[in-house]
Symmetry: C2
Subunit: 259 residues, 2 copies
């Protein structure tokens, strides 16, 4: 009798596992889903490896699981060249020149460096140097193109803000840069991922690049590919993606001295 019960239990378990597995294989609803998504990850001198490569690898895995519906390339404002990462880290080869009008997604990472100080290897100095290149003017063109989504990670938001590109736009950056983001005219939002509108998405500190990319994979290709990448990477999207919609919470500190 106990054997029968164990057998029944194992059958029930097998069935309960089989049912969600079957529905997980259901044909995806392809309405509003992209057939092809191209992603350009922009490198600049002193860029942060994880800011750039976490989204790179999420989009690459999404391409693998979708039968190459996603293509990803490393680019730079100057074209094909070897680009050194920050803090004396390894260089990565940008394969081609950033095309601000290529439909798809452009990912702008932040810089890797000391959080503050007067040496050339600080994050503010590296971002300032990047602002002197043609990168931000190219991103400005991209932000005016309806076929392009610009996604920033960490200091990438600051880089855009420094050139006035985030004026009155909702955005997030690494916590250590939130005051600077505000000073540069953006509206800082404390969230892991902020979607100001469909074509401007920003992420907080370094690892939020995983969340920015997973969110965009889900938005563009649907939840099944995002879920497959999550399983492979053993990482689940964190935090609510903040959007300028729905009921806004009451600001209890408004008009008080304490903030």
């Amino acid at each position: 009798m106990r054997k029968m019960f164990a057998l029944f239990l194992s059958l029930a378990l097998a069935l309960s596992l089989a049912v969600p597995a079957a529905s997980a294989n259901a044909a995806p609803d392809n309405q509003n889903r992209k057939d092809n998504l191209h992603v350009q990850v922009v490198l600049f001198d002193g860029f942060d490896l994880l800011d750039a490569l976490a989204p790179y690898e999420v989009f690459t895995a999404a391409g693998m699981y979708s039968g190459d519906k996603v293509t990803v390339e490393l680019v730079s404002a100057e074209g094909k060249r070897s680009v050194p990462s920050g803090l004396g880290g390894p260089s990565l080869e940008a394969k081609s020149k950033l095309d601000p009008h290529q439909p798809g997604i452009i990912v702008v990472p932040g810089a890797a460096g000391k959080p503050a100080g007067n040496t050339p290897d600080t994050i503010p100095n590296l971002l300032w140097k990047a602002k002197q290149t043609s990168l931000t003017s190219m991103i400005k063109q991209a932000m005016n193109d309806k076929e392009v989504t610009v996604a920033t990670v960490c200091g990438g938001s600051l880089l855009l803000a420094m050139d006035g590109l985030l004026k009155d736009r909702h955005a997030v950056t690494n916590p250590i840069g939130m005051a600077a983001l505000s000073a540069a005219g953006a509206i800082p939002v404390e969230a892991r991922v902020v979607e100001d509108g469909p074509r401007l998405v920003s992420g907080g500190g370094v690892t939020s690049g995983l969340d920015v990319a997973l969110y965009l994979v889900e938005r563009e290709l649907g939840p099944q590919i995002a879920n497959a990448v999550e399983n492979l990477f053993q990482y689940e999207q964190r935090g609510t993606v903040w959007k300028a919609e729905g009921t806004a919470p009451i600001d209890f500190f408004k008009n008080t001295a304490v903030k």
Copy 2:
């Protein structure tokens, strides 16, 4: 009166914030803490970018915050060379040859590729190819050196297991490789980070490399540096680090047909 109350509240808040800040600046207890920690991250053809670079960047940031108490380098079994990552990704320059007897930590990443299939770009094939190099025999030497901790991420555990290096050792790898890890003679443990002994630490899927590195930073340099890196990266260690100590949980499935 209400103004007075608000003032009092703001003072109390300021004090409550100031007290933990002060203790956070307490001089660290340097007992059992390393003055210098050298980390070698090993690259091989088809390696996974995040498996290698997430620990690389955690250790680099730990070096930055500790005034260069941590040094990190990319190495390969063959010496200085450009090493291509998997899935057609960018190459990274290994700066020197892996030294299995250099005191410190050796990080072994997994491969990036299709999870299964018969093509050369599958993870099992890439790991098999890496096993044909001198890498695993060098890691074997490292595992016999009391001054070296070997840390694997994702498929890195499988690479070692394939060459018999994890026989009867507790370890974890990506969920898709757990059966293979067991078949290769290791004792698979379902945890994000597994410490078989102080000198063998393994991590699960891709992003668990962050947890492996943060755990080792905490172990070697203490909690303050690990916490600083967590804040900068906006990532907190996940999961209990499994160790072969303490009370073991009852295995309720032991001796039953259902497992």
